[in-house]
Every structure is written in structure tokens, then in C-alpha cells.
Amino acid sequence: MRAEWIIESLLRAAALASASVSVLIFAFMAYLGYPLVEKGQLGNLFTRPWLPDQGLYGIYPMIVGTLWIASLALLFGFPLSLGYAALIQLTTDRKNAFSRFLRKVAEIMTGIPTVVYGFVGIFLLVPFIRRWLGGGSGMCILSAALLLAVVISPTMILFFTDSFARVPREHLRAVDALGGRPAQKLLYVVLPRSLRGIGCGLVLAFGRAMGDTLIALMVAGNAVAVPGSVSDSARTLTAHIALVTAADFDSLEFRTLFACGLVLYFMTTLTVTTVGVLGRRGEARRP
């Protein structure tokens, strides 16, 4: 009894400590970003352009850039991942070796450092996009989104395969025994049963795409302007933080980073909450 109590208290303390870290980060950013509010800059943050020489520190272009790149990455990555996961599912029926191989590849892909993708992108993808667009540097939203799609796909693939694997065996056997072909099994039973998992995977991947720094930093071009098309160069919030931090440590310009941090914090919280709600609703529906 006593040992159990000690373990429980320890675990609770650990949980509280890690939860308070994220609250503390929030408080820290709010505190350090406060001078912006004091100088009446907060409203301007989201409307003004980013012109530090003129004392204008708007992060709106970066918010737009982040949303463009993350959404496009999801648009490219989602069909790819769903198809890949479906292929894993279809091949499990016949011989396990091929589907295990496919899964292993996706697992290894999650382990490759993002900078490697960025590096490869600069040498392979960017020149190709440059030629294809017929001008410019090739460092643009399209390049970043394509590359980011590759980065976030393994997360989605593994998430999708896991939710496919949770479909009860009896259901699969029922379809088999009724003369269902593997593709019919996937379409009529596995996919409808996995909608929740697919939704969660999508939202998580979107969160990852928004949080990724290096890809955008390396191949999106980092221009501080509201992008008008996918061939425009853009800067994401994360890349912005990285770039400004590299140059400066104590100025109003630097202070705006806390606003960037808060916006990212807010977006991430929103995605995590969405996943939580999706998960809970799915559980409630299960008898």
C-alpha cells in the first residue's frame, strides 16, 4: 500500500512538472513579449509589414507563409500517405515480407534528420522547380511544401497503418469468408472504420508541418512579404524566429519573436485539442 502511494505521488509530481513546463513557457513568452503591448504594438503585429528599419514589426506575412506551406504540404502528403498505408494493408493479406519492408521504410524515414531532406532538396528539387517555373531562384512555397510533404508523410503513414491494424480481425474474416477481394475489404470495411485515425493523423501531420523550421528556412526563400502564389518566396514563423535569433538578442525586433512564439503556441494547442476531441468522440461511439 505504502509503496504504491509513493509511486503514485512520484508519478503525479512528474506529470505536474512536465505539464507546468508548457504553462511556464507560455508565461515566459507573455512576460517577455509584454513591452510590445506597452508600446502599443500588439495590434500592429498582425497588420503591419515587417520593416524593422522603420520600426514596423508585423508578423502577418510569416503567419500567411506558415499556413500556405503547411496546408500545401498536407495536400501533397495526404494522398501519398493514404495510398502508401493502403498498400501496406493490401499486402499484409498475401505475404508479410513486402508489407513489413514498406513499414520499415516509413519508420526509417521518420528517423532521418530534417536537415538531410533540406540539403537534398536544395540540390535536387530547387533546381528542378527553378527550371519548371522558368525563372526565379526556385526557393519558393512550392519547393518547401513538396519537401515538407515528404517529411510529414511517414508520420501519417504510420498513424494510418496503426488505425487500419486496429480494425477487428473478425470483421476482416467476415469479409474474407463472404468472398470479398482485398481491395473491397479495404474500401468497405477498413477505411470506414479508420476515419477517426485518419483524421487524427492528418491533424498531427499539420501540426508537424507548422512546427518544422529547417525545410522552410532552407528552401522557401525567406522573403518577408505576403506571398501571392506558390511560386513566391515566403518565410514561416519558425524560420523567422531562427533567422532573427541568429542576428540579434535585445531589441524590439527580437521582442516580436515572442509574439511569433505565442502564435505558434496557439496553433499547436489548437491541433492537439482537435486530436483530443476527435479521439474522445471516437471512443464514445464505440459500444
Binding site: E170, A174, A177, L178, G179, R181, Y188
Partner: protein, 241 residues
């Protein structure tokens, strides 16, 4: 030891030198027999000795299990043609539409009652709503379930009782009008009353198809089966029905 069945019945399924292995373990040992048309054959015997495996030989459902091996020849007579179901030319989905199977635990799919029964028709590519509704009703009537569900065909199938779910699974197997029906301990998850309904149903169903059934309950087997055969040490031994 394999006694040939009485001459009066017409064989529906013949098995020649059937052996079955799980890894190095021989579950079925050189079985040769035949099963009569429109008969209920019960396979009894101790658990874990391959009775369920023997059933899956007739719809080839064992083939997805890794590490198993089969040898021998299994033929089923569809109409007047004998078909070797392990021949490369055999169309597996078509075979499984003509050899239905019902499992130990009812396994309705997570959809409505009507959709569950219509599901095999959908798999077979039948799309005419009128035909589907007619065949669903016929199958539910044949499975003694129509009167209980006719007012709630759109309700979720998982809301049915265990016995109703099992009859739903029988209806689902019947909707394609299979010539052979395989039943793997169809009443073992049900109470006596629900099991009684299904026993009664099986006796009616033998007019439509040839039934092979695995069961633990000897009294049940004696009530419904025309032939009782025991699987012991990989071989079939006939018992008095």
C-alpha cells in the same frame, strides 16, 4: 477407418488424401471421405485438434495463416460439375460465395441490419435496389429473423442479441444462396433458448444446402445431424447418429 457414407445419398464434397500441417505438426492425417448433399454432417472431437481447420479447408480460409501447409485433393460438385477447389483455375471469391461460413462468435459488420445482409451482394457487384431488398428479405426469412427485425432494418446490427446476431450472420451467408454452409460451433456463445432456435433453423436449411458443422455439444449433434464423425489424432472416425 474412414467409413464410406450410405449409398442412397449423393456426394457433394469429396476429400482425397487430405493432410494438414501447422508448422511441423500434423493436424489432419491422410483423410479421405465424402459428404452427402442436403445432409448435416457434424464434426465432433476434442478442442484444438483441427476441427475448425478442417472446415476452412472447404472455403480455403486457412490460406492467410502463415506457416500452414496442406496436401491432398478437395472437390465440390456445383450443379453437375465437380470442381477441384485447389486448382489454379478456381476463382476464390466465387468459391466463397458458394461455400458460406458462420463463425463461433457472431461477427456482424459495423453497419445496419439490412446492410449486413446486403453486404455479400455488394461484394458480388449486384446493385439493383429492388433485387437487393427482395434477397435480403428472403435471407432474413430463411434465417428465422425477419419477423424480429422487419421494422428496424436500418438499426445498427450490434444492437441485436447474441442469438439474433448469429442468425443475422447465417442470413448474410445465405443471401448468396450458397450450396454448402460451414458452421463453426455456431451456438457455443449462445444460451439454450437461442441455441434451440438455431438448431431448428439448421434442420430447415438442409433443404437448401449441404451443411458441415463443428460442435462440442453431443446432445445438439444428436438432435440435428444426419452423420456424426469424430476428428481424433488427425483422422475421422464415424459415430452413430
Amino acid at each position: 477407418m474412414n467409413r464410406t457414407p450410405p449409398q442412397t445419398e449423393r456426394p457433394k464434397i469429396t476429400v482425397e488424401h487430405l493432410s494438414f500441417f501447422y508448422g511441423g505438426f500434423r493436424v489432419l492425417d491422410d483423410i479421405s471421405t465424402s459428404f452427402g448433399e442436403h445432409r448435416i454432417t457434424a464434426i465432433v472431437g476434442p478442442s484444438g485438434k483441427g476441427k475448425s481447420t478442417l472446415l476452412t479447408v472447404f472455403n480455403r480460409l486457412w490460406e492467410d495463416i502463415p506457416g500452414v501447409r496442406m496436401s491432398g485433393r478437395v472437390r465440390i460438385r456445383f450443379g453437375d460439375r465437380w470442381e477441384d477447389i485447389y486448382a489454379p483455375s478456381c476463382d476464390l471469391p466465387a468459391l466463397r460465395r458458394r461455400v458460406g461460413m458462420v463463425f463461433q462468435t457472431p461477427n456482424p459488420l459495423p453497419m445496419s441490419i439490412a446492410k449486413n445482409v446486403a453486404f455479400p451482394l455488394r461484394l458480388a457487384g449486384r446493385r439493383k435496389p429492388g433485387e437487393i431488398a427482395r434477397r435480403v428479405e428472403n435471407a432474413l426469412r430463411a434465417a428465422f429473423l425477419w419477423e424480429e427485425v422487419k421494422d428496424r432494418l436500418d438499426a445498427d446490427a450490434t444492437q441485436l442479441s447474441g442469438g439474433q446476431q448469429q442468425r443475422l450472420c447465417i442470413a448474410r451467408a445465405l443471401v448468396l444462396e450458397p450450396e454448402v454452409l460451414l458452421l463453426d460451433e455456431p451456438t457455443s456463445s449462445l444460451d439454450t433458448a437461442a441455441a434451440g432456435v438455431i438448431e431448428n433453423l439448421l434442420i430447415h436449411l438442409k433443404r437448401r444446402c449441404t451443411i458441415l458443422m463443428v460442435s462440442h455439444y453431443l446432445d445438439q449433434v444428436h438432435r440435428v445431424a444426419d452423420r456424426i464423425t469424430e476428428l481424433a489424432d488427425g483422422r475421422l472416425v464415424e459415430r452413430a447418429a
